[in-house]
Symmetry: C2
Subunit: 427 residues, 2 copies
C-alpha cells in the first residue's frame, strides 16, 4: 500500500488505472492548467477527490481528479536523476546553519514509504525546498528530534549553548527548525539568554505538514532564509506564515504568541506589529522604532525552573499558593484579570509568599494590552503587598524570563531588578 | 476642592476664572461647535488641557480649553430642575429589571463631591443615561457591590437564584451591571445554570468610568436595553462596545473572552462572530445558525469549585498535579499547547489522576481554534490516558462548566456526559 500512501476512493482508482505512484514525477493538465511536480503521499484523513502535487517551487497544490485532462509520467523514484544533490555550492553565497530540533518542519515524508523522517542533510533540504539553494549554502545539524510539546528548559539550554559556540563563526544567520506548540517559549528564552548575540537567529516551524496541499513549510523556510541573509539585524526572531497573500511575518522572540490551534497564520506579535514582513523574498521593516537597545553580546544561559504560572479565576483556591511555597517554588507569575488583579481572597497567601521571599509578578490573562495596577483599588492593594507589575509582557514571556532571571541572580532583589530591566525588547 | 474635582493647571484656571464648577449645566462653543451638557469631574491622572462635558445623549466629550470661544452657564447643581426624576413611567413601554453587582458601570460619580456611588435607583439611572427612559420602564435592585475580580462562585449562585425567581415575571429582559474583569466567567455560569431561561439576560459593563470622556457606560447600557426589548431571543449574553463606529456587540455568554486590558472593544466572541451587533438602537443578527438548541427551561444551579485550571508549559512540575489530587481536587481542565497537548513528562501524573477518578479535560492556550487530539502522537497518547477533548470551548468556559457539571452530577461518568453535551451553545 505504501506506493499509494494515504490515497483512497476516486483518487486511488485514478492512480492505479494510470500506473502512477507516490513519488513519481509527473506533468498534469487539469482545468486548463498544466503543472509539473511530484505526487505526494496524503494523510489518511484527507478526502479522496484530489491528488497532491509538490511543485518545483516547493509549494504543494491539490489537483481535482475529475478535472484532469491529460498527464505525462516523467520519472519514477527509482530512475529519478540525482544531479540536484551533486551540484556544487556557490562560493559567492552566504552560509546559513540549520539546526533541527524536531516538529513537522524538520521532517520530510519519504515519497515511497510515507514515513516521516528528519530531512536535514543539506541535499535533503535542497531536494525538499529547491529555491533555498539560490539564497545560501546550508550546513545542517540535528540537535534533537522532538515535537515541541515535549521540549523542556534543558533543551532550551542545549540550543543556547550550541548558538553560543557559534558567536564567532562565519554564518550569516542561524535557522532553528522547531515544532510550533512551544516555539514562542523557546524564542523567549534564547532572546534573554543570548541578548546581543551577533548573528540573527530565526526559529521556523510549520502548521501544516508537507504532505498537505496547504503546507507552509517551504514558504516559511524560504522567507526565514531570506530574512537571515538580507535583514542586517541581529536578535532572535520567530518566522511564520502571516496572511493569505503568502506573506511571512518575522516576530520579535519575546513578543510573540501562538494564538490559533491550527491555522497557518497562528502566530501574532502581541500589542504591536511584527518586526518585519517578508513579501516574495523582500524584507520590509514593519515595526516602528529600534529593536534592541543593547548591542553588546551578554550571554547568561543559566535557568532555574522553580517558577509557577498561576492563572487567577473566581473560585481559585488560595491554598494552592501555600502548596507552591511548600514545594520550593521561588517565584510566581500571576495571570491576573483585567489590568492586573486577583481577588482579595488571595491577599493572605500573597503576604505569606512575600514572607517566604518569593518573587511575585503580575501579568494579564487578557492576552493583549498593558498592566496598570494604579487605576483600581485591587491593583493598588496588590502593589502594596509587593507584587511587581510586568507591564505589557505576555504571561508566557514573563514565565520564561522569571526562570532565566532566577537562574542568573543571587537573590530576590537582583531577580526583581532583572525582571524590570529591558533585556531583549520584551516591553 | 470638590467643586473642581480632578481639574488642574489650565483647565482649573479656566473654571475658576469663569466661576464654573463640576456639576454645572453649561452651553459651550469651542472650535466652531456648540455643545450643552454637564461639567464632569475628572480623574487625577487626566491631562489639564480639557474639560469633560456629559451631553444629553449620555455620551461624554472632551472640550479643549484653548479652543473655547464662548460659554453660557445654564444652571448649577443646587438649582438644577428635577422634573426628570418626577416624570411618570410610560405604561406602553416594556419593563426591564437592572440588577447591580458592582463595577464601574453600576456607579455614578457625584458631580459635586466626585465620590463614586452606586447609581441604581431608577431615577438615578434616568439621570445618568436619559435615553433609557424611551426604551423601557426600569426597576433596579442592588445584589451586591463588588469589583468583579472579587466575585466568587457564591456570587454567581446568588445571581442565578435571583434570576430563577423571576422566570415567571413580566420583565421583558434583565440587565446585570457587572465589572468587566470576570464578566465572562459569570456569563458562562449563568448560561449553564439557567439553560433555556425564558427571559433574555444581558450582562453589561464599562471599560472606562463615566468621568472619562471616552466612557462606554451610557452606550453599552442603552444598547443592552434595546437588545432586551427588541431581539425576541432568550439566553444569556454579554453586551459591550464593539468598534470605533460606536457599534455594540452582543456575545453568547459561553463563547466570549476579555482579550484586552483597557480598550473599550475588549471583549470578543472566540472562533466566530458576535451573536448580534447593535447599531444606533437597531439589532442586527450577526451569527449564522440558531443559538440555543434546547428551548425548555432547565435550571441546575449547584456548583462545586473543586476544579483546577492547569496551564501547561515547558518546565511545568508534574508534582503539582499530585498536590492537586491530595488537596481534594476532583477535576482538572488543562490549557494545553497547540491542538491540545502536554509534554510526556506529565503522563505518569495523568495516569495517577485517572486512578483517583478525577475528570480530566483538554483545552488550548492558543485562545482561538479547535482542539484536535487525533493529529499528533501526543494527542493520541493523551486520549488513551483518558483525557476528554473539550472541542472549541475556551479554557475559562470549560473551567466554569466543569464546576457546574461537578456540582450537578453524581459521579465522574455523569460529569463527563454533561461536559460533552451541548448545554448553552458552548461548542
Amino acid at each position: 500500500m505504501s506506493e499509494y500512501q494515504g490515497y483512497a476512493g476516486e483518487s486511488l482508482q485514478w492512480l492505479k488505472k494510470n500506473n502512477v505512484k507516490v513519488g513519481n514525477s509527473i506533468k498534469i493538465t487539469a482545468d486548463g492548467l498544466t503543472n509539473s511536480g511530484i505526487i505526494m503521499p496524503r494523510q489518511e484523513s484527507g478526502d479522496d477527490k484530489h491528488l497532491v502535487l509538490k511543485l518545483g517551487s516547493g509549494y504543494n497544490v491539490p489537483i481535482k481528479i475529475n478535472e484532469i485532462q491529460d498527464h505525462q509520467l516523467i520519472s519514477s523514484p527509482e530512475i529519478k536523476p540525482k544531479q540536484d544533490q551533486e551540484r556544487k555550492e556557490d562560493p559567492e553565497l552566504p552560509k546559513i546553519l540549520l539546526l533541527g530540533t524536531g516538529g513537522t518542519i524538520a521532517s520530510k515524508v519519504d515519497y515511497r514509504t510515507g514515513a516521516v523522517t528528519p530531512a536535514l542533510t543539506a541535499s535533503d533540504l535542497y531536494e525538499t525546498v529547491p529555491e533555498l539553494r539560490d539564497i545560501a549554502n546550508f550546513d545542517t545539524e540535528v540537535l534533537f528530534s522532538e515535537y515541541s510539546e515535549n521540549l523542556q528548559p534543558d533543551h532550551w539550554t542545549k540550543i543556547a549553548e550550541k548558538l553560543h559556540s557559534l558567536a564567532d563563526s562565519d554564518y550569516k544567520g542561524i535557522l532553528i527548525a522547531h515544532g510550533t506548540d512551544t516555539m514562542h517559549y523557546t524564542s523567549a528564552f534564547l532572546s534573554f539568554a543570548l541578548a546581543g548575540f551577533p548573528i540573527p537567529v530565526a526559529l521556523v516551524g510549520s502548521q501544516r505538514s508537507s504532505d498537505r496541499a496547504s503546507s507552509d513549510a517551504a514558504i516559511n523556510l524560504t522567507a526565514a532564509s531570506n530574512f537571515l541573509v538580507k535583514s542586517n539585524t541581529n536578535g532572535v526572531f520567530l518566522v511564520m506564515h502571516h496572511d493569505e497573500k503568502q506573506t511571512v511575518a518575522c516576530h520579535l522572540g519575546t513578543k510573540v504568541r501562538k494564538n490559533h490551534t491550527s491555522k497557518r497564520e497562528a502566530f501574532e506579535t502581541m500589542g504591536g506589529d511584527p518586526a518585519f514582513i517578508i513579501v516574495e523574498g523582500e524584507i520590509k521593516k514593519n515595526m516602528q522604532g529600534d529593536f534592541f537597545e543593547d548591542e553588546n553580546y551578554n550571554p547568561r544561559m543559566k535557568i532555574d525552573t522553580k517558577v509557577s504560572l498561576v492563572k487567577y479565576h473566581p473560585g481559585y483556591d488560595p491554598q494552592l499558593i501555600e502548596n507552591l511555597i511548600q514545594t520550593g517554588c521561588k517565584a510566581i507569575i500571576f495571570e491576573g484579570t483585567g489590568l492586573g488583579h486577583v481577588g482579595r481572597t488571595m491577599y493572605d497567601m500573597i503576604k505569606k509568599a512575600k514572607e517566604n521571599d518569593l518573587f511575585l509578578g503580575m501579568t494579564s490573562q487578557c492576552g493583549d494590552g498593558r498592566i496598570n495596577m494604579n487605576v483600581y483599588e485591587s491593583g493598588r492593594d496588590l502593589l502594596e503587598l509587593g507584587i511587581t507589575p510586568l507591564k505589557n509582557m505576555t504571561p508566557e514571556t514573563s514565565l520564561v524570563k522569571a526562570m532565566w532571571a532566577l537562574g542568573n541572580s543571587k537573590n530576590v532583589v537582583e531577580m526583581k531588578d532583572l525582571m524590570e530591566e529591558e533585556i531583549a525588547s520584551e516591553f
